[in-house]
Structures are given as C-alpha cells and as structure tokens.
C-alpha cells in the first residue's frame, strides 16, 4: 500500500495509507489519550477524548476514526485540543464517584491518569450524579454503573462472542447506561462470566469480585500465563501480591475463542492458595458447585472412582 506523508506537531511523518491519525501519532511517539478506542475493534468514536486539530477541518476530529491523508497537518496538543480534553474529563468526573481512595482500579484507571496529566483537580460542573445500585449479582463480576463512562468497549467486545451480545446501551441522554436486556441484573442475563468486558474496561466500572479489597493496583505484579485447558491458548494474568497469587485475571482471548470461565477458574485452582468456591448457574440461579463440576471433570472423576473401587 502507498505511503502518506503528513505533519504531526511540526514533525514530518511517513506512514502507510489507511493508518489512523491516532496510530500515526502514537507511532511517532506522540501521546493521545483514548477511552473508547479498542485496537482490536476500532472505529467507534464515542468518547471524543482523542480529538486532535487538523488544519482546515471544520471541527476537531477524533483521531481514532480518521485516516491520514497526504499533506495533513495535525496538532495533538493545541490550545483548542487541550481545552476540549480538559472539558471532557471534567464532564466525566462531574458524574463519577470521587472514591478513588477505595476503588480497586486506583492506579490502573485511565480517567485518573488523564485527570492527572491534564491537571484536573475536580470538576467545575456541579449537578446531578447517577446513583445506581451496584450490581454484584454475578459471583465473579462487580458492575458499578456509577463509574461507567459509557465508552462502550464492553458492549463491543461482548458482541464479538457468538450468541452472547449480553449487554448494550439502554435509555437515552443523561440516563444512557450499559445494561443487559430489559435492564436486569447481570446474574439474570445470558452472561457466561468470560470477563472479556473486564479486560477492556478503562475505569472502575467493572471489577473482579474475588480481587475486591485484596490489593491496590500498584501492589499487584502480573505474570502472563497461557491457559492449558484447550488448544486455543487464551492468555491470563497471575496476580501476585508479594509471593502469593491472589487471583487470576483474563488478559486476551486465543484465536477463535472467547476466553472462558472454566479456563480462569482452572488456573485459580492451580495457582491460588485458597480459591473461592466456584459457582455455576443452575435453574437460573448461581449455586456453589464442586471443582470437578466446574471444570467439566465430574464424569471422568466418577469413572475413575468407579474403576478404583472395582
């Protein structure tokens, strides 16, 4: 494919045609913040934090959705861009609980990082904040929609899994939120707790129940591990606090596989000292089950026991 020459912040850059301005800028070493951009699932353009100034354009443009063009002149931190980003961060913070002190995502949160970078000490907007109940109905995932910035990455990653599409946007305007069908609790939905959505959530809206309150983000050392339960080879992270593994978190799905609960729980059984008792949904309710059942080994185990007793 042909190359395109453009100027970003005064520096001439050569990239392949079809590259986005975001990728071109990042490749050239320039910082552009993103919330909704998912490199595996690009082109949504909702959060607007990645806007840049392009000479001659009518408005600022979302760099994640704009392809480079020959001769384009881009500014990634012009006064208009900075004002826009600061305003967007303030708008998000105005409707966000200020509980970073106890948030499990503290230290691993983009909203926090960008507020720091753009020196936002609080929002200058006051007014209504959402007050949704926290959904901890699912035994593995906590959903706090008060912290959600509606970037939609969870919605789009869930859509990638065949037969899932468990969550989507519901309602309109300020009342827009991400919800399962009919705005039920997650436990009532078709969610299979694969945790793909947790991989992509840039803020504290989605978190692991088994890790809640166990460690600050900066106390955790992550070590990648490949799931050995099938040949897809999904990637997980072992979460170390000191020498101990306190939990296993999803990292990235293997080819053609969605990540799965079985894989993550199997790894927890393998690596975590005292893993929580697994739960599965039976007759529409989550109940505690044996490790053999959750790993799909109960038949094999039964046969082994039978053989042994014979």
């Amino acid at each position: 494919m042909a190359n395109v020459i453009l100027t970003i912040n005064g520096k001439e850059i050569v990239v392949k045609a079809g590259t986005t301005v975001l990728d071109a800028a990042q490749e050239a070493g320039f910082f552009i913040p993103t919330f909704c951009h998912d490199p595996l699932n690009p082109g949504f353009g909702a959060c607007r934090i990645c806007v840049v100034e392009i000479k001659g354009a009518r408005t600022l443009v979302a760099s994640c959705c704009t392809e480079v063009a020959h001769g384009m002149v881009v500014e990634t931190e012009s006064p208009a861009v900075v004002e826009a980003r600061k305003t967007i961060i303030e708008l998000l913070l105005a409707n966000h609980p200020a509980d970073c002190l106890t948030c499990d995502k503290n230290g691993d949160c983009r909203l926090q990082d960008y507020a720091y970078r753009y020196d936002i000490r609080g929002s200058s907007f006051r007014g209504e904040k959402h007050n949704y109940p926290i959904d901890d109905s699912n035994p593995y995932i906590i959903r706090d929609m008060n912290k959600c910035i509606l970037c939609g990455r969870c919605v789009r990653t869930c859509e990638q899994v065949q037969d899932r599409q468990v969550i989507n946007f519901a309602f309109r305007g300020f009342n827009t939120k991400v919800a399962p069908a009919m705005d039920t609790e997650l436990a009532e939905s078709d969610c299979v707790s694969c945790a793909r959505c947790l991989v992509v959530c840039p803020v504290g809206a989605l978190s692991y129940k088994n890790l809640a309150g166990k460690a600050r983000a900066y106390e955790i050392r992550k070590e990648p591990v490949t799931c050995p339960f099938c040949d897809a080879g999904c990637r997980f992270d072992l979460n170390y606090k000191g020498e101990k593994v306190i939990g296993v978190t999803a990292k990235e799905s293997g080819e053609g596989r969605p990540l799965c609960l079985k894989g993550r729980l199997g790894l927890e059984l393998l690596y975590v000292d005292k893993p929580l008792t697994p739960m599965l949904k039976k007759d529409d309710r989550f109940v505690e089950v044996s490790w053999a059942e959750v790993l799909g080994m109960d038949n094999v185990l039964k046969k082994l026991i039978e053989l042994k007793s014979n």
């Binding site: 826009a84 967007i88 409707n95 007014g127 910035i149 509606l150 305007g173 009342n175 827009t176």
Partner: protein, 617 residues
Amino acid sequence: MKNLDQVRLKYQEQYKQKLGKNRIVVGLGTCGIAAGGDKVMQNVKEEVAARGLDVEIDFTSCIGMCYREPMVEIALAGAPSVIYGDIFADKVEKLIESHIVNKTPVYEWAVIQIPGEATPYEGIDIMEKSAYYEKQVRSVTSRLGRTNPESIIDYIATGGYEGIEKALQVERPAIIDEIKKSGLRGRGGGGFPTGTKWQFVYDARGDKKYAVCNADEGDPGAFMDRSVLEGDPHSVLEGMMIAGYAIGADEGYIYCRAEYPLAIRRLNLAIAQAEEHGLLGDNILDSGFSFRIKIKAGAGAFVCGEETALLNSIEGLRGMPRVRPPFPANKGLWQKPTVLNNVETYANVPFIIRYGGDWYADMGTEMSKGSKVFCLTGKVNNTGLMEVPMGITLRDIIFSIGGGIQDGKKFKAVQSGGPSGGCIPAEHLDTSIDYDSLTALGAIMGSGGLVVMDETTCMVDVAKFFLNFTQLESCGKCTPCREGTKRMLEILQRICDGKGEMEDIDTLDRLCRVIKNTALCGLGQTCPNPIATTLRYFRSEYEAHIIDKRCPAGVCSALLVYTILANKCTGCGACVRSCPAGAITGEKKGPHAIDTDKCIKCGACIQKCKFDAIIKA
C-alpha cells in the same frame, strides 16, 4: 418503453368531470382533523343526503392556513371555488343552505376564492392576491389542499409521474446533471447540494444501492414534511424513483416517524396504487428499471433524524450515529451505497425533471435556489405552512404572510431550525432567507420550522426549553453531547431560579465551544446553538437574571415579585381567599399587601383580581 399517455388522458377526463360538478371539499390533513374536520365531513355527508343534493363530496389535505382549520371548499359548477375557514360542524348546515341551495357564498366565513376561469365573487380575496398567499409560490406544495391525496387519479391528472416517465427516457447522468443545474440543496437542514450527493452515490461502486427518504421530522414546531406526505405522497415516491433510477438503486426506504400515522397510511396507500399502475415494481413501464419502496416506522427517537442513526435504526440496531467517513454515499444502509434525502427534497425532484433545472434555478438567490417550505408557529397571528422563494426576508414571512404578532405585542425573536438552530432578533428581520445568511447569524435554515417569540418570551427560558429537548433526546453515545447538554441545562435552570453567577456565562461559552467542536454527529455539534445565539443577541437578559435577579420578560417564576397596587385595590378579599400560602393580608375594603417571603409565586391571586391591582415584575 411504455408510456402513461392513455392512462393520463383517461384520468384527466375523470378529474375534469369531478371539477365540473357542484363540490364540497373538506380539509382532512392532521391539522384539519385535529380541529374537528372528521365531524365536519360527517355533517356534510348527512346534510347532502338529507337534502338529496347532487353534490360531489371530496376531501383534501392542508392548504397551509392551519390557523383557519377546519376549512371547507365549496364550488358550484362553473363558479369560483370558495374556501371557508373555521367551519366547525355546527356551521355546515347554514353553509350548505346558503352556498349550495341558495347559490350565495357565506361572505363572512369565506377566506379566499380560486376563480379559475369563472368570474370572481365580489368581496372575497382571490387566493394569489390574498395577504397570506401573495408572497408565496406554490410548487412543491401545489397539490396541497387542492387535490385528493388518496387518489392517484388526481395525481396523474395534474402531471404526476410525468417526471419519472421523462427521466426513464434519458441516460442516468443526464438526470444528475439536471438536478445539479437546478441548484437544489438538501431541505432537511444540512443544505448539501443534492445533485452532488447523487453523483457520489452514482460513482460509488456496489452491486446494490439504496434510496432512502428521511421522514423523521422531529423539530419542535416543524410540520413541513408531514404536510407534504399527507398532501402529496405520490410526489415523494416519484422523487425517490427518479433518484433510484439516477443512482442505480432498485430499493428505497421511507423512514417515517410513527407519530405520523396519517402520513404512513397515505404513503402505504400511494405505494399500493403505484404498484397497481405498474409504476413501482419490476421493469417499470417496460424500461428495464425496477424499484420498490418500503416504509419503516421510527420508534420515537429524535436522533434517528440524523442520517447515520436513521440507517442504524432501519437495520434494526440502536439509533446511534455512526462515525463519518465513511459517508452513506459509500457505505450506507447495510454498508451499501445509499442516497439519503429528506421528504421536501424528494418532492421537489419531479418538478425539476418536468420543468427543467433552469426553471427551478430561476427562483431564489445565487447560492440557494428554488423555494422552501416553512412552518410558522409561536406568537404569530397566522400559524401555518407556507412555500416561499429563497431570498425572501423574515419580515415578509412574519409580518406579511404571518400577519404580525398576536395581540399587537412586540416582536422579539424568531427561532429558525429548531433545537439545532438559533434565534434571530428584530434587528436582523430584513435578512434574506437563504442557507448562508442564516448560518452567518448563528442560526440555520434547518428543516423550516420558524417559532416566533414576542416581548413576553424570556430568552433564557427559550434556551432552557431547547436544551431540555436535546438533553432528553441525546443518544448518549458521545461524551460532550450526553454530559454537556445535561450540565448546560442545569446551569440554565440555576440562572432561571435566580441562583446563577456571572462565571456561569463563561462556563456556558466554553461548553458551547467544546461541544460544537467535538461532538460526534450534527445534532450534537449544533445543540449549543440556542444558547450561543441567545447569549449573542440577548446577553443583557442573562445578566438581568444573574445580577439583578430579575426576569425582564416576566416568565421565570422564581424571579418574579408580586405586589398589590394600593390605588387599584378595593379590598374585596378575592385574592386572600385564592392564596394557598396565606401570604396576603389586609383590612376589608382597604388596600391589601403580599408578604413576599410567604408568596410562592403561583399567580392564583392575579387570576382572581378583577381590578388589575396585582402586578408581577
């Protein structure tokens, strides 16, 4: 290729016969029905039957004078058509008795007459010379209120489907050239040149293309598209067919809001009639061109009037705008090249093809050609629909056609373009109405809604009204629109409540700038316009609310103080009895007084006082 000559001759004959009889025509557009047109129709039928009269009873849609509905037209064979206004059901008997039986029009009820070749009645305004119509043109609205919208006979007899017949005889690029020559620009609000848009879709590669009609008219105070759909549905179908042929589409969708049931019913009827006549379907008129039209009813979201959200909605997805580019011309409905125009744009197309692009370009200004349909509402005497040549002034529309401001009050501003538009103050009344002049004022042409405001309108309150609308109707996808409209609304509410601070104006300025600069779709980018324009033209009103804690127009109830004028108060005590807060005291037959601290500003006392002794300011 086959032609419609035989059919047209036959229908013209039938149409002529219909016009040659004694006729009563009842206006049954939504405005007519809302005013009681159905009951009028029923009474007409009963009265004619009871008297055994030989009268053709017909109906039509809105002729534009919505403020005079229900309207009834009566024509005796060989005599002028007289159009009566405010004909409520109880007036039918006298009307028929006088005009049909005694052959004398009821002059005091007559609004206008259309003499045709007959000698006009003395003392009734002739339509073209009447105050309401003198400065209007009637091209895209020519059939509205004149033909039966549910009759394909009327449509074909009045030149309908001549456009598609003519189009099918020439090469496709020639049609696009004709539209380009006409200078027609998108009538939905954007004002993009229609011919250029068609060219993009024509040039786009694809095995399948679509022509989509945006009939999701949602601006408060706008009903142009509804009137056209209800009054001349075939013209929209014909426009879409011509577009479909020109760009190489074989399928069309009309996305019509479900709140327009009559429009949807008449469209369905028109589609069925066109199919029966072989004008929709396979191999139309043996030309090799096939085209089908489907209707998709919206589900009530304003944002679905945004073109990419509309496409998502047709596809069954949530109505949220897509990122552009890719534009619908390249990747539209189901990712296929799609031409998307609004109702009025399509309805203009058959006329342009029939009479030529030059004919159309003769009307209007250098950059805005042709005519535009507007809806005039608000504090104006004549609320209704009008078609005017581009370049006419706002003064002409509001004072000549609209008849000036209600109750002799003073004009303050007019909101052009709905929630995406802005207000235009009195000093700009002589601005020419065209896309570029209105944009320069901070407003937009928009789809054609004009809401007139007088001296009793508070401009902060107006901005609040539109922001409340956009805030509720934001799709919620992009941050600036979803969160920004909410915060702007809250600030405006605080200002109206007397809790505003001067820095709120700076914050509003910043939010207006950032939202306009960063929102994802056109609706988001334009939603600050009502605030930006009121701040630009009526900043002093904001300051009065904030600094003096006063609402100059007397609208914002939290800022009003009620006082009793001692010299007018008779001490009757009516106000005391009406006050729910016990805030009024006074001796019998002596002047009363209101305790401002107790007063809840409900206004009950003002309504009860017979002596105009209570004022709010």
